[in-house]
């Protein structure tokens, strides 16, 4: 078994007789095995073994936002979406074609003359 395979297996947490044979003859892999086992132990140990003191819950409660603040934040977060919706609705309103009634009553607007004039010219070609 080559060193690469041995280290891959050690990294995956494997340990058997064939690995032990290799580790008995290869000092580099034995050192790697020792380090990986120490690393695992380090990962298992809490870095800061501290317990919360009795006042912890009170400190959390003292920082809790009131309901109005929570609603305020929610409203603030919804602001971009509301703005986008307003823009979309405004755009839809502007891009609506004129109703049939508005076309039949009253004088045509300059924009309408320009638009339909262009159509007529295009159709006449």
């Amino acid at each position: 078994m080559d060193c690469g395979t041995v280290r891959d297996r050690l990294l995956r947490g494997a340990r058997d007789a064939s690995l032990d044979v290799h580790l008995g003859t290869c000092a580099d892999c034995a050192r790697f095995a020792h380090r990986i086992s120490a690393a695992r132990e380090a990962f298992r140990q809490p870095v800061v073994p501290i317990e919360p003191d009795p006042g912890f819950a009170s400190r959390v409660v003292a920082r809790l936002p009131r309901t109005a603040e929570v609603l305020g934040w929610a409203a603030l977060r919804a602001l971009p979406a509301a703005f986008a919706l307003a823009l979309t609705l405004a755009w839809l309103g502007w891009s609506q074609p004129p109703s049939a009634a508005s076309l039949l009553t009253g004088e045509p607007s300059p924009e309408m003359i320009l638009t339909y004039g262009a159509f007529a010219t295009e159709a006449g070609r």
């Binding site: 280290r7 990294l11 790697f32 020792h34 380090r35 990986i36 120490a38 690393a39 695992r40 132990e41 380090a42 990962f43 298992r44 140990q45 809490p46 870095v47 800061v48 073994p49 501290i50 317990e51 919360p52 912890f56 819950a57 009170s58 400190r59 959390v60 409660v61 920082r63 809790l64 936002p65 309901t67 929570v70 934040w73």
Partner: protein, 185 residues
């Protein structure tokens, strides 16, 4: 009507699961005493988990406080399909991960200080700590969950809201970097 937070100060004959559900309901209704009781119930677990990622006690406290503040803000989104502890653990992990990413420079500077201090110590454990201090924060985060907490890929994915493929890829990269560091050191 006495709230559960008051009731548990007296004789407690309530089923723990029911008690928890009531505390959540009362917290959702804005009862801060009920929420304090919920905090006391899980603060040990949150401190223990946060303590795996941060060295300074004030950082652990800060992450724990942030976790419970987010809990208060997001409690309405808890659907009780999974145990409350899992949901809380997810928030705690997110807080820890966010802080690790935010204060990456600071954390790495601290790790470097500790690495230099450990470099002169003959103790093998300290030598490995010195090597592990060179791991990127995100790799260390994931390896602690895999090796320290002994969570499966599926558990990590579920608790972090990542896909299993994402966890596998990150774990593979983290192990590769760990291997390189342990070989070079």
């Amino acid at each position: 009507m006495p709230t559960l937070a008051h009731a548990i100060m007296g004789v407690n004959t309530i089923d723990p699961a029911d008690a928890e559900a009531r505390l959540i309901r009362e917290s959702l209704a804005g009862d801060q005493d009920a929420f304090a009781a919920l905090v006391r119930r899980y603060q040990g677990r949150v401190f223990r988990l946060a303590g795996r990622f941060f060295r300074r006690p004030e950082e652990v406290e800060e992450v724990a406080q942030e976790t419970f503040l987010r809990t208060w803000m997001k409690l309405g989104t808890y659907r009780a399909q999974a145990p409350f502890e899992h949901w809380l653990t997810r928030l705690c992990l997110r807080c820890a991960y966010d802080r690790l990413r935010r204060s990456r420079t600071e954390t790495e500077a601290l790790a470097q200080d500790e690495a230099e201090a450990a470099a002169t110590d003959p103790n093998a454990r300290l030598e490995v700590e010195r090597l592990l201090a060179r791991l990127p924060a995100a790799d260390r985060f994931l390896l602690i969950l895999l090796e320290g907490e002994e969570w499966s890929v599926a558990e990590i994915a579920e608790r972090l809201g990542w896909t299993q493929v994402n966890v596998k890829v990150r774990a593979h990269r983290a192990r590769k970097r760990l291997r390189r560091i342990l070989e070079e050191g």
